[in-house]
């Protein structure tokens, strides 16, 4: 079995630079911990050149470099960068293992026919990581450990020939195997400097003198890696996010950062030929709180502006209630709808454009305002159902419309308009629209009745306890409009629920 290892040196810094690319050319450093106890984890090249090294406290680093840009570790950003690295590897091989903290193992079986040699394969992996905004190194060997060690060497990619793991590791210092501190002290006292020196010791004696940890390390030194390759399962969603340096109170700066995260998210969706059908938004609130919300889309989309509009509208309609100190977006992928063109039938709408348009409408109007209408089983005209719109395929030929149209339709008034009705022996004789805050902006249907036809009784749902009983009338007003009005037989109130038009 041949394995590749992709590692991102100084991963916490790389994850931070992925979220904030502007920091790349500056003297910046990432610290772990709080206040004066914070220790430097990684720093950019200008900062390292100025003398900063891992383990320094923040005051020490500031003493060396007063203009240092200090950042804390970004858990959400590191998680997203780790996922992006796995995505990059999955573009080359379907079997990858998450090694944690910017380390990914890739199974190379079956890939050799696609690349002239393993060096090219390694270069392709590095390029894939670069597309995700991560500078990675690559090592290729027969075991995970040898591949990892190879990936940590300069002049990447480094290829260890098949069966050459032990000779490759032999000249390297023992520290490359990262032994435990006690074990490292013992080995130093024994005068062992390289992996090869340690590998030469008799295996039968090692376990007795150094214990189980020593035996495992000895196997590793001989090029034997007992750890199996554990391919990961593709996650149900793609996540991007970051921790913010300062909690944000206003929406605009948040949207600026959200847009960058959504762009990265959409790029990953595009690489998987998917669109986002649901977006989960998690906000970390200052000082200690969480806010989770889920935005459903009517069709898979990869349009960043649409997703951003959805986030904006949702946050505007339901503010989080506290300053936001971090966020993460999880996109649930779905395959875009396939489209089929016809030669002689009506042109079909491009599925991508349709999905984007539906998402835009959804963002503009909100839930329950866009869809394909369906009639509801029942008699109340104001009732309806909306389902996600997915127009069926166009017929192979355009069908001519049926002749003899010209049916009278009713404009339904939702909600029904309250009326004051004067009734005489033969029915309503006069209407007056009752104006209230609810009916503001609705048409005025006041006037004398010229012709009235009714009553037509409607009763529905009496067995549910929420039924209605109405007496309907068709009335023509002297002013012109032809309306459909009804009297609620339970309350005796009158309403207009439609205008013939």
């Amino acid at each position: 079995m041949r394995l590749a290892c992709l590692t991102v040196p100084m991963f916490p810094l790389a994850a931070r630079l992925r979220s904030e690319p502007d920091l790349a050319g500056t003297a910046a450093a990432v610290f772990a911990g709080n206040g004066h106890a914070a220790r430097l984890v990684a720093a950019t090249r200008p900062a390292r050149t100025a003398g900063l090294c891992p383990g320094m406290t923040l005051p020490q680093a500031r003493a060396v470099l007063p203009k240092l840009v200090a950042r804390g570790r970004d858990e959400a950003g590191e998680r997203a960068a780790s996922e992006a690295l796995l995505d990059a590897a999955e573009r080359i091989s379907p079997r990858v293992e998450d090694g944690g903290e910017g380390v990914v193992y890739i199974d190379l079986d079956g890939l050799h026919r696609h690349f002239p040699d393993e060096k090219e394969l390694g270069r392709a992996l590095i390029a894939a990581a670069k597309r995700e905004g991560l500078s990675a190194r690559c090592g290729i060997a027969g075991s995970k450990l040898a591949a990892h060690v190879a990936a940590s060497l300069p002049d990447s990619p480094v290829v260890v020939p098949a069966g050459g793991e032990a000779p490759f590791l032999a000249p390297l210092p023992l520290a490359r195997l990262a032994p435990e501190v006690d074990l490292a002290g013992t080995l130093t006292r024994w005068g062992l400097a390289t992996v090869g020196d340690f590998a030469k010791l008799p295996a039968s004696e090692i376990a007795g003198r150094l214990g189980e940890a020593g035996r495992a390390l000895h196997d590793v030194a001989r090029g034997l890696d007992p750890r199996p390759f554990l391919p990961r399962r593709p996650p149900p969603g793609f996540t991007e996010g970051m921790s913010l340096e300062w909690p944000l109170v206003t929406l605009e700066p948040f949207l600026g950062m959200a847009e960058a995260a959504l762009e990265r998210l959409v790029r990953r969706l595009r690489d998987h030929a998917s669109g986002c059908v649901r977006l989960d938004v998690e906000l970390s609130l200052d000082p200690d709180g969480q806010d989770a919300r889920s935005l459903s889309l009517p069709a898979p989309t990869r349009d960043v502006r649409t997703l951003l509009s959805l986030v904006r509208l949702n946050l505007e309609s339901k503010p989080p209630g506290a300053p936001v100190s971090g966020f993460s977006f999880t996109a649930h992928p779905d395959a875009p709808r396939p489209g089929q063109l016809t030669l002689f039938g009506p042109a079909e709408i491009s599925p991508d454009r349709l999905a984007t348009a539906l998402a835009k409408l959804f963002a503009l109007l909100g839930e329950g305002r866009v869809g394909s209408p369906r009639a509801v089983d029942g008699h109340r005209p104001e009732r309806f159902a909306l389902v996600p719109w997915a127009p069926p395929p166009a017929p192979p030929e355009r069908r001519p419309p049926r002749e003899g149209r010209g049916l009278l339709a009713v404009r339904v008034l939702r909600p029904p308009l309250p009326l004051e009705v004067l009734v005489e022996e033969n029915g309503p004789v006069s209407l007056r629209t009752l104006v209230s805050e609810k009916t503001k902006g609705t048409p005025d249907l006041s006037g004398a009745v010229r012709v009235a036809s009714g009553p037509w009784h409607l009763e529905e749902g009496w067995w549910t306890g929420e039924g209605v009983a109405r007496d309907y009338w068709d009335v023509e007003l002297s002013a012109g409009p032809l309306c459909r009005i009804f009297r609620d037989t339970a309350s005796g109130d009158w309403f207009a629920d439609g205008v013939y038009d």
Binding site: F344, P346, A347, E348, I349, S350, R353, A357, L361, L364, L365, R369, G371, S372, P373, R374, A375, V376, H379, P381, F384, A385, L386, W389, P392, A394, E397, R398, R399, P400, P401, R402, E403, R405, G406, L407, L408, A409, V410, R411, V412, L413, R414, P443, D444, V451, S453, P455, W456, H457, L458, E459, Y472, G480, P481, L482, G498, V499, Y500, D501
Partner: protein, 267 residues
């Protein structure tokens, strides 16, 4: 577009009917726009062939002028022909049950329910940009004219809509109580002179219930590029389902023979 001559006898008729000679293509740009037949004879006569694709057509009229019925007929004709269509319904007046009864293929229909005029205009533009070939923008039953300042903005919005429809070859029908599209409209029609049709008869020596049969109005062509305005056609609209209001209501309402008026109508 003329059909190929019989020099290619192997082609099935339905295919050869839709092919043309190269010589015909040269003059194609000069011919009138492709049109969507609506199967509403007055409309198909006033706008030759039907609703022009790639253009905005405005239909104005008061309440009960028949413009909404006209729009539903257009949507029914489009969806029945296998095309996708969209209704941007500012007043939330659409009744899916009635539309299905009039022949609309609901799965091919997108119903957009904006709350404001601005949302309606944006929605219509979004739908047109997506490539939906038939779009109806209904501005509802608003009774007050839009203020002049707003109107100026809307003129620009309708110009955008018209251009978007042109770019995507979509037929855009705008329904409004008064003129709003301005110069953006390729054709303007007005529905007016509405009269409701009632049946009156004597039954058993007493006056029977008047039954709504339909309404008729007059569709007047106010503007169409390349044609003289003023042409008019009667627009008769009948109550769906049957020739009488009684059977119309029987199709929509539960049968209650204990209603005296209903019984009188059935006698």
């Amino acid at each position: 577009m003329s059909a190929l001559p019989v020099s290619l006898p192997d082609l099935p008729e339905e295919i050869s009917r839709q092919l043309s000679r190269a010589a015909d293509l040269a003059g194609r740009g000069a011919t009138r726009r492709d049109a969507l037949p609506t199967a509403v004879p007055p409309l198909d006569r006033l706008l030759p062939g039907g609703l022009p694709r790639g253009a905005l057509v405005e239909v104005t009229g008061g309440r009960s002028s028949g413009r909404f019925s006209l729009a539903l007929s257009v949507l029914a004709a489009a969806t029945e022909g296998g095309e996708a269509a969209a209704l941007v319904d500012l007043g939330d007046h659409f009744d899916p049950q009635a539309a299905a009864a009039s022949g609309a293929d609901l799965p091919r229909l997108l119903w957009v329910r904006p709350r404001t005029l601005k949302e309606a205009l944006l929605s219509a533009e979004t739908v047109l940009s997506a490539g939906v070939p038939v779009v109806v923008l209904d501005l509802g039953l608003a009774t007050s004219k839009i203020s002049l300042a707003k109107r100026a903005r809307h003129d620009f919005a309708f110009l955008r809509l018209s251009r978007t429809a042109g770019a995507h070859g979509a037929a855009l029908l705008v329904l409004s109580p008064f003129h709003v599209a301005g110069p953006a409209a390729e054709a303007v029609l007005t529905a007016s002179g509405t009269r409701a049709g009632w049946s009156r008869s004597l039954s058993g020596g007493r006056a029977a219930l008047p039954l709504l049969l339909g309404l008729s109005s007059r569709l007047v062509l106010e503007r169409l590029r390349g044609r003289r305005p003023g042409a008019a056609e009667p627009l008769p609209l009948r109550v769906p389902g049957a020739l009488s209001s009684a059977s119309h209501h029987a199709s929509r309402l539960p049968d209650r023979s204990d209603v005296p008026a209903r019984r009188a109508a059935q006698e």
